[in-house]
Structures are given as C-alpha cells and as structure tokens.
Symmetry: C5
Subunit: 354 residues, 5 copies
C-alpha cells in the first residue's frame, strides 16, 4: 500500500477476473509454505510447486498454506482452480491496493487486512496486504513479502501449546488476525513516542523542522486510519458469526480482536487530535516569537530614533545656533538624551514589553 | 458537468417531461451505434436514424444502443416511445447536470453516472454524464460526446472473449459501469501525482503559485466528491439486487464494482485530507518566513541604530566637546562601536536568531 | 424570512391557535384568486371576499385558491372554518418564520416551503413562505406577497396543455412545488456566477471588499441551507406516499422533485465548500502580501542603515581622523559603500527575496 | 444552571435517592401555589404547608401545584410520599444541573426542561430548571425561583378562555412547555439583535472589544445549545404519545411545540455559524490592518532612508570632496533627493500601496 | 491509563488468554478484601490468600471481593478457575489499557470502567482501570492501586443504611458504578475551575504560558473523552437489562447513572468547545498586540525619519547653502520640524492609531 494509490489504473479496460499483480514486486521468488495439522500430528514443508499442496485438500486435517510474493499469478490460478475460488477473489488477492474487507462466498470466507511494518525509512510506517481465505479445513494466507508476524503462531502449532491444535480452521484464522492486530500496538507505541517527543520539543524549542515533522505525522495518521478503520467492520462481520464456518467458541475470541481493533482506532484518533492540536500550538508560538522580535525592533527604534534626531539637530551647520556656544551645551544634550531614553524604557516596562 | 451548475435554470416554469438539452453541446452530429449479440452471433452497425434500431426490440438477443450527443431531442423522443420509457427518464437523460442515481421503473432500470476525463486544460478533470437504461434484453447508453472508455468492452464482444457474450443485459450494464469506475483510478493516479509533487514543492520551495495550485486541487476534490460519492449508493442499490433485472451471478460482480467505488471514495478523501493539511503547512511556512525576514530587519536595525546615534553625537558642532580633542578619541569611538556591535551579535546568537 | 428571526416573540404567552401575522406586511391588500377546473372546463376569477370561494367546496372539480398577503387574519379564519382546518394550521400559515415541513392531517396535507427571490438589494436572496393545503379536490396556496413563480402553471391550466387538467389536486400541488424548486436553480446559478467571479478576483486582485463579499456569500449560504435542507424531508415524506391523498402516478413525479431538491442541496454545499476555501486563500494571500511588504522594508533598511552609519562616522568632528585627510578618502568611502550595497543585494538575491 | 457545573460533586459518595439541593439558593422562602380546576369551577390558593395540597389528591379535578424554591427538601419529601413519587425523581428535581429529559414512571411522567431568562448582567442569558410531574389529574411544577412565564396560563385558567379548562392534565403540561419554549424566541430575538449589531460593527469599525464580544456570544451559544438541543428529544418523546397519560388530541399540540423547538435549534445553529464566521472576518481584518500599518512604515522608510543617507554623505568631513565646492551642488542635491522621493512614490503607486 | 498507550505491545505474538499485567505496577503487594453480607448479617475481612474467599462461593449471601493491585497474576488465575471465568476476561482485567466496555458471558457480566483521580502532578487527571465481574450472588472488583471511591459504599453495607443490604449483587454493582461516575463530577468541577480561571486570564492578561495551559487542558479533554464516552454504551447496555442478572428495580437506578454519564459527557464537550474557542481568542489577541506594537514603531519612524532627514540636510557641508547664513534659519528649521511632527500626529489620530 503506497501512500498514494499507484498502478491500479493499469487494469482499466481489462475484463473482470483478469489476474494481474498490482503493487510493488517485493520478493525475488514466491515462497510457499504448508502447515498441515490436527491435534495429534503436524507436517511443515516449504514447497516449490503449488501442486504439492493439493494432496491435503481431501484430508480432514487443518491445512495452512502461506504464500509470500504475489507476482507469479499462475500459482494463484492453479490454487483457485483446485479449491474452486471465485475469479474475483483471485483478482482481489493480487490487487494489493485493496481496502480491508470481508466477503462470504458460502464455501469459504475471503478476508483482506493490512499488516503494518515500520521498516520504512525514517520510522515511516508501511503496510502490506494480507489476504486470508478461510474454508472448513483450510486457511490460505497471501503476503506481499516474507517476514511476517505469524512466526509465534507457527511455533505454537509446532509445540502444540494452547488451544490452537485442538480447534478448527476458523481459530487459526482468528490467530492470524489477532497476531496482525496485536502488532498494530507495537507500531502505535512507536508512533506514540514520536508524538510525545514532538509535543515536548514543541513546548521547549519549536523549530522549522518541527513543522515538517508534524506534517509527516499527520500524513502517517491519515495512512493508518485507512488501514485500521475498515478493520472494525471486517472483524465485526466475522464476529457476528453469520457464516457457519465460524464457530461460536471462536466468535468469543473474535470479539476480543474486535475490542483490540476499537482500541487501535481510538489510539489513532487520539494521536490525530494531539497532532492537529500541535499545529495550532506551533502557529501560535510562531506568532508569539514574531511578536517578541517586533518588540525588540520597536524598542530599539523608539529609543534611538529621537536620539539620533537630536544629534542630527546639533550637527547642523547654521551660523546662528546659540546652544552650540553654551558652556554646558554638550553635557546638557547628553542629559536630555539619557532622559529621553529612560522615559522610553519606563514606558515599555509599563506596557510589559520588557 | 460544469464546476458550477449552468443552464439548469432554463427549465424553470416548463411542465415536467419537457425534453430540452441542458449542458454544453459537445458534438456536431449525434452518433448512434448498435451492437446486437448473443453467444453465437453479433451485429455492429452505426445507424443514421434511430428507427433502424427498433427491429431489434422483439429479438431475444442482447441489444446495446449507444448514443453520443444529446442535443437532438427527437432521437430520444422516438426511442422513448418505442420502448415505453417514462417522460421523466427522457428529461433526466437530457439534463446533464444530474447527480448520479439509480431508478427502478419496473420494466427497466435507469442509471446515471459520471464518466471522468482529464482532457481539460491544465490537467483539470472533466466529467461527462453517462445515462444507462437497462432492460431485460437491451442496454441503452447515452453520452454527451464521443470518445469513451467502452472500447475494450466492444472489443470483448467482437472477439467473444470472457463471459460477456454468454451473459445477459445486466452483465453488459455491469461491464459498462466497471469500465467507468476503473477509469476513475487513472484520473486519481494523475491527481495523486500532482498531490505528491505539490507536497514536495511545499516542503522544499513554497511559492505563491503553490497556494493557487492547492486551491485548484481543493476545488478539484470538491468536484470529484460530487461525482464519486453518490455512485456508492447507485452501485449499492444495484448490487442488493432488489430488481429481477439483475441476476444473482451479476450481483457478485457488482459487489466488486462497489468495492472499487469505496476505494475511489477513500482515495478522494485521503487526497482531501492531504490537500487541506497542505494549506496549514503553507500558512505556517509563510509565517515562518515572515519571522525570518523580521529577524534580519531587527538585527540590522538593532546593531546600526545605536552606532549611527553615536556617530551622530560626535558629528555635533558644540564648541565644548572635550572628546573631540582627545588624541585617541576617534579610535576609541571605533572600539566602542565595534564593542556594541559584538555585544548585540552575541545577544542575538543567544536568542537563537542567528 | 428575515436573516434573523424577528417578531416571533410577540406570540409568547398567547394560547395556541391564536391567529396573528408574524413577519413583514408585504402587500397593501390581500388578493384572492380562484382557479377551478376539470378536464373539460375551467373558471378563473379574482374574488373580493373569501366567501365567494365556498361554492366550489362541494363540486367535484379541482379548486385552487391562491391568497397573496396574510395580514388580514379573518380571511384565513373563515376559510379554516368552512374547510375544517385545524387552528394550529391556520396559526402556522400566518407565522412566516416557519421551517419547511409537511404535516398530514388526514383530510388534507399541510406543506410549508420557502420560495426564493433575488429582488433584494445587492443581489441578496430573499425567501417568502408559501403554505400549501392539499385536499382531495382542492389546493390552497398562501403567499406573503404577489409576484410568484406559478404563472406558467396557470397558463398550462388555461391552455389545457400537458397532463395538468387530467390529473388530481395532488398533481397540482406537485406542479406548484416543482415550480418553486425549479426556481431555486435560477437563484443558484446567479449565486454561482458571484462565486466564480469572486474566485477569479481572489486570485488576480484580492481587495478588502473581497473579504466582505466572501462574508456576505457565506451568510447567504447559511440562509439558503435553512431553506433548502428541510425541503428534502418534506418532499421525501410526500413521495413515500403514505397519505392516500397522493396517488401512485404523482408519487413518481414527486421523486423527480426530490432529486432536484437533492441537487439543489448539493449545489449549496459545493458553494459553501468553495466559499470557505476562499477565506483561507484570502488569509494566505494577505499574509503573502505582508511578507512582500516586509521584504521591501527589510531590504531598504539593510542596505541603507550601514551606509548611513558610515556616512555618519565620517561626519564626526574628531580632530584626529586620518582618513579625512587622505587624498582618495572620499572616493574610497564611496567605493566601500557601493561594495556594501552590492553585497547586500547579492545576499538578498540568494535568499530569493528579489 | 451555571456556565460550568458546580456543586454537583457534593453528592459524590451519597446513596441514591438522597435529597440534597444542588445549585444556588435563589429565593428566601419556598412559595407553594395551588390551582385546582375543572370546566365549571376553579380554586387558586397560596399555601404555607404542602400538606394542605393533599386534599385535592382524590378529587377528579385537575390540580396544578407550583413550587418556587427548592432548598427546603422536606416539602418535596412529603409530596413524594403522598403521591408515591420515586426517590430518584425527587433527587433529580433538587439537582438543578440536570440535562433536559423525560422519564415515564407509568403512573406519572417526569419532565425536566430549562426556562431561559435574560435578567443576568450584560444581557447574559440565564437558565432556570423547571421540573414537571404530570399525572392523570395533576401537574406539579418545580422552579428554582419565582418569576416565571406561566402567568398567562394562570390567567387563561382564571378567565376560562380557550380550551384549557376543558381538557386534561396533559394539556396543562403542554401549555406550560409551550409557554417555556415560546419564551425562548424572546431570548433568541434579543441575541439576534446582538449578533446583527456585532456584525455591523465588525464591518464598519472592528475594535478589541469586538473580539471579546464575539467570544461572549460564542459561549452563550454553547450554553444555549445545551438547553435547547435535548428539548427536541424530550418533546419528541412526549409527542410520540407512548404514554397513556398523553391523549391523542394533545399529541397534535405537542407536535406544534416540537416544531418550535426545531425552529429554536435552527436559530441557535444559525447564530453559531454566524458568530464563528465573524471570528474569521475579525482575524482577517486584523491582518489587513497590520498590512496597512506596515505599508505606511515601509513607504516612509523607503523614501527617507536613501535621502538621509545622501544627506549624511554630504555631511562628511573629508578634505577632498569636490561636490561640496560646486556652485550648484546644494540645489543639485535637493533635485536628486526630490527625484528619488518621486520615483519611490511612483513605484508604490504602481504596486497599489497608495 | 497513560496518556499514550504503553506496554500493550509486549503481548504481541502471545497466545490469547495469556495472563500478563500491562500497565504500571502501582502497589507493593496486592490487597484482597472480602465483604460478605445479606440483610441480616455481614462479614468483612482482608485475606492473604485468594483461596480463603472460595468458601463463600456456595453461600446464598452476596460476596464482594475487591482486589487492589494486579501484578500477581496467579491470584487471578486461581479466582478464574474457581468461579469459571473465561481466560479472555482474566486477560482483559490485567490489561489496564482497556477501553470501557461491558461483556455478557451468560453466568456473569464483565464490566470495565475508568476511575478518575486528580492526584497527579499539576492537577493532571489520572485514570485507573476498574474491572467488575457481576454474578448472581457475587461482585468482584479489580483495581490497579488502593485508594478508591468505594469507601462510602462499604460504610453503607456496614451500617445497613438504605437499600443496599436488602438488594442483590446487581444493586451492589450499580452502587459501585454510581460511586465512580459521581466522582467524575468532582474531577470535572476542578477542571471547570481551571477553564474559568484560564478564560479570565485570557481576557485580562494573556501570557505565553496561557497558550501552554490551553494546550494542556486540550490534551486533558482528549483524555477524558476517551474515558467518559464509551461509558455511555456500557451503562446503556446494562440498563436495557437484557441480562437476567440485572433486575428490573436496579434497571431504574442504572438509568439514573446513565443520565449522569450523559451529563458528564455534555460537560466534557462543553469544556472542549470552550477550550478550543480560547485558542482562537488567544491567537487573535496575539495578532492584536502585534498590531499595537507595529503601530508604535510606525508612528515613531514616521515622525522621526523626516525630521532626521531635515537635520541631515542642514548638516551637509556644501559651501553654498544660503539657509545656513540666515539670521532665523535655525529657529525656522525647528518650526518646520515641529510642524511636520504635529501634522503626523494629527494624521495618526485621524486614523485612530492613537
């Protein structure tokens, strides 16, 4: 997901169901991993050809196929044919500019969410699209690149800790979603630190870069909202459990993810409020500093302009200027000048400019 | 669709159902093209008189009549009479200032959408109204001018690739809508590039034109919203499939268009957020530059005003000014002046103005 | 409808149903016109006393009584008694500060809408309240002053063109509403021209009056919204056809008016967006001009202050100032001065101030 | 109702139903008035002890007990015991910081609304809480202080004019609410005058006090909204007539009050829009004036700095300054100076600064 | 609840139901208090081990277990096991960054709310999470630290005053919620005082700290909203009484708490409006002061620049300057200078700058 949608236009004019990868190609070679398990056993394997996965189709065990890298569309085509996936689903998986959504196709559910990373430059948050297909005994997950937040889940399957191996494909899907949403908080905390740091900097020492940093954070928030808000609907739809593929027991866990999503949204909105409040403060403090600068200028000008004028007067070359001949003329002028300066200073102190 | 509604007022006072073209006349001569097909055969023809189309009315094949150019109201009148279209529908087709909408007249559906172009000057987005009438075995499309985004669909009909020839009039209507919505992304990407370019310019080198460019982009967004937002309702109403004219299978495809519409809306809203954030940044940076300018002025004035005053003092012509007679008076004054300047500079450095 | 509600307070403390005209008295003498028609015949008459109208009550023909001028409350009283109108309806007709609304009293519908005029000074939009009472075979319309947008409808009745004479009282009511809403677009187009003119002026040559003009337009928008927004509900309620007084066939036509209302609302909202965007632009360009002014000042000061200082130095009267005796002292000082000025100019060019 | 909730915290920790007066004690001594009537007779009496009222409890006549002053909680306690009022109702009556609300307790309805006054200093609007308890044959009204808007209703009961004596307790309650809402318009018109006055002042002669006046009006609006908005729900709930205590006939009248409430809300919102627009205009005109001030400064400085410099040059004391010896040197310098000044003035005129 | 969510990320990757305390450890040692009562008797005890509480499980009396301090997760584990609490509930209790919510688990209700304190530095509001588990005959309350608002409730149980000992566990839960919400008003009143103080300071003597204080108050409001808004839903859900655990009688009391919640929300929103209005006023008054400063500068410069220029002219050393020889040259120049100054002053007075 780029900041600004890109590449989506390439599809204009093509018939629906045309498989074409939209988005940046992020890995060299797609990587297909398969994890097949039930309570008593499990297999884990990285396969070269997607056909190797099809043997698990008829087995009652839970099959989790994870594919990293989407640009080889023929992998998807074969998988879709074998499992009877709708062409529009395949098309959507390849279009990584999707909005998070959930679609119920009867035999399976299609879920699109955004996985957040912060590997980007300057701590910029990046999003990667993760598509899930949840069937009665299988879960397929599609990622744009390797390196995900699912490792702890694989570990739990391997070690048979907790509930995971005992429950169905819906629970596995829940676990994947939970892992993704949980990672949002890692991202949000880092953002929170930047927000707090910025807030302090704003109060103690606002600089021109502060403005740009505020602007960057604001864009980040717009970006995050786009990823997080629709998730609420997605998880909510899953939780309401209208699909027979989601069991009651799992539904309770999905409610928990739902709560986390709401919390993530809340946090993003709070950050937004804080950041947009900062801009006001920044503007105010810029105005304040302008005021301070102008006061210095005005004080200097108001004191020295009359004095310079006076000096100018007694620098005139008129033949008849009686003051010039006075014995105490010069000290007197100094006295007048110091007097004027003092009066001005007192005036400015009264006006609280000093 | 002009930026500001125009010509609509000409109709005030006329009875409902009065056929009158509202909007700019965009083509010389209306152009009527007919495409009649079923799975096994297809006819394509450009006709001179609309009456030539009526022979297809009783045939079971799918008939797609496309009319470019709306100012010859009698064409519409005849078509409406032959196919029994409601006078209000005909009136609405001719009023190109319509808001996108969908109306179910029982025997046929009437759909109005906006097709976007960017052929306008300075990359300005332009919208053209496209009206669709979808019946059990016919689709009529009405455009203001030639040059549309439907060419790939004609090509698919001719070459009998994909599903199009196998399915009904509703699928054809879907294909037309899909083509229109897909083209939105072409427009949006170009806009996105302008937004990004502007954002960079704003940070590196904000100019007065930047402000006008922001203003233009903002107007563009207001304009786009008007075209895109109502589409959501239109496609949503079609997708919910309350009309028997829309089949279940097509409904699934319409959901896909619906998703694209939401995505387009999302993108427009994101651009809006970004552009309105830019204005704040622009204003802040203008203030910042004012601050910088004022600091220069203040520094110069604060350094040279006291010095000029001092020079003025020793330019006075008092007879009794002992300093003037001193051997080292002149170098001493220079020393004092340099001292004052240095103190000022140190003061400004302390205040971080330098 | 004044900009700010006025005169409404006179009623505080009076019992409900008290007939009292609220609003400006706009005509000398109330004018009562009656138009009675069916498909085959029609009568048109201006009557002096409202009692003359009562003979039509029992006839099956459609009776349209139009009253211009509301301050003679006894006319209304008699009419209400004869046709059994609820006292609250009569009270509401006289209160011209009403919000547009629709009330179903079973035997008749009571509709309040705003008719817009632009006869006001400086192109200011003015609104006049129009009340309609729609019964099974009668329509009463009440206006604050003469001069309305109903003339084309009267003409259509007289000439028996179109559907009007063939259909019931509900269709007549629809026609009146349609005429009122159609006239909104005349007003909106004029406003649109002012908005566009202002926008251009803003970019090319912003003046202090521009600000006031923006403020006026903004107030106009607030005012228009109040008139147009509630109309949506009014027409929507009529269109949903819950009252048996509205026939199915007319309902379709009301949907058309509903669409126009939405379009009018859309246009008002677009104008609002444009006008409030203008204020931002205005403020920015004021800041920009301040910046330009300050740059001129700063450049002048920065160049001439050091030079004046230098001139001041060599205007001092110290006895021992070796430079003064130099042969080339004076040209040298000029050279230094020109040098300083040139350096400053280069510095400003570098900073892009020139 | 103070601007900021006060005294509410005293109740923290007390059990529910604890009777404690929250709010300022506004009268010396509570005043209890009883008005008992049916169509044929009526009694009006001011009683010292609340027990005197209880004799009316079993009578079929309508009893209206009005209590001004809430700090003697035992009055309420006795009344509550006699008529079986819920402790929470009694508690709410005493808490004058309530939000307007309506609660249906089966045997009676409990209604809280705000009565507006403008007796406050500087035209500030003040609100007083009025609680109504509406039973089958009684209405109790509780006010914080004497001096209310109910006098015309008492008069109507005494004189047996209109419908009031013929109808039930619900109609009496309606009349009280109507009187309160009608008085809102008196307040709103006064506010409207202040808004209009301010608007004119803003355009013709904005002062620093204008800013504070805008701020005050804004606070007033926030305050009014809090009183008016919830009323909509309150009256709406009454009007929908879900309680058997409200008869159909009265329901129609309540709809009228509902409309007035909407109109009051509309007016408050319009004022809010106008006032917040004013702040923008104020800020813009402050900026404009700053611009004007700076132009004057810049023009003066730009003209006189070069001239002073020139004068300074020929005030230098170099021995070899050929110009000083010229016969026409002095007039020449004057000519040059006037020339420079004229060029500057032309330049400023071109830039439209003059 | 920290300003910015912290520590939440530690859980990313852990399986659901993992018990881990998130949030600051606020007490040394968890403190467990048990209060068991019915109408006739009551026991109060502080226990060391949670197992001591389990003996009350089967008794028909109401058991209230309160736990201060959450970091010893094994306490919760044992309690959960004994009473059959869902692992997700236990997890949520330990995660003190929860959003207020209510969950119905059939056998018991799980309620999370925020308890506000102002013990923080500089009057900063702090929130502590309170979790309630409400069963048929037990209430468990979990707090982050000791020192709560429940003492009056304990006192009421001990002294058997009021309804508390006569009613069920739902009424106890209501009492706890009521105590928490009541304390909000204590906090809100203190905030209200700060708001009012700030408002006055803003008008009389705005300082740079005022800006920071406004910013702090704004953050406080964002923070409060997060605590208060969701409460509405929580109490609303309890009040609607869909759970058999909440009796009808209690439901009425919950409506009262609901009203208080709405009132608290209202107050927070009013404060928000007031505080954000303040920022506008602050900015305006900063601009106004800048204007005042600039006027002083401009007046001084405009008066003294021409005078200094004149003095400079007669300080020139041209040989032929006839004015210098005039007998009354010097006084004449003074007269001219005073004249210029006077004209300038009159000009400024006319422009209302003085």
């Amino acid at each position: 997901m780029a900041r600004v949608t890109k590449g989506r236009s390439k599809k204009a004019g093509l018939p629906p169901g045309t498989l074409m990868h939209i988005g940046a190609r992020k890995v060299q070679e797609p990587k297909i991993t398969i994890l097949d398990y039930d309570e008593s056993q499990f297999h884990e394997r990285e396969v070269k050809a997607i056909e190797e996965c099809f043997i698990f189709k008829e087995k009652p065990t839970i099959t989790w196929i994870n594919i990293d890298g989407l640009h080889q569309t023929e992998i998807l085509e074969k998988l879709g044919e074998c499992y009877g996936l709708h062409p529009l689903v395949l098309e959507d998986i390849l279009n990584t500019e999707q909005r998070p959504k959930m679609e119920d196709y009867g035999d399976y559910l299609y879920v699109v969410v955004k996985m957040l990373h912060d590997k980007g430059k300057k701590g910029q948050v990046e999003a990667e699209q993760v598509s899930l297909i949840v069937g009665p005994n299988f879960v397929f997950s599609f990622q744009e690149s390797g390196g995900d937040v699912f490792e702890p889940i694989r570990e739990r399957i391997r070690s048979n800790k907790g509930r995971l191996r005992k429950m169905g494909a819906d629970y596995l899907a829940y676990s994947l979603l939970d892992a993704i949403v949980d990672y949002y908080f890692v991202i949000l905390e880092k953002l929170g630190e930047r927000v707090e740091f910025l807030e302090e900097e704003l109060v103690t020492n606002p600089k021109t870069q502060t403005l740009q940093e505020i602007h960057h954070l604001k864009s980040e928030m717009i970006f995050l909202r786009k990823a997080v808000w629709p998730l609420r609907e997605v998880i909510g739809a899953l939780e309401r459990g209208e699909s027979p593929l989601i069991q009651k027991a799992t539904s309770l866990y999905l409610r928990d993810v739902y709560d986390h999503t709401i919390q993530a949204i809340d946090t993003v909105e709070t950050f937004r409020d804080m950041v947009s409040g900062m801009l006001d403060i920044y503007l105010s403090s810029v105005s304040n500093r302008l005021n301070a600068v102008m006061k210095v200028l005005t004080i200097i000008a108001t004191i020295f302009m009359p004095l310079t004028f006076l000096a100018g007067v007694y620098g005139m070359n008129f033949r008849h200027m009686p003051e010039l001949e006075w014995r105490w003329g010069y000290p007197l002028v100094w006295a007048v000048m110091i007097g004027i300066g003092a009066v001005m200073l007192i005036y400015f102190r009264r006006r609280k400019w000093l």
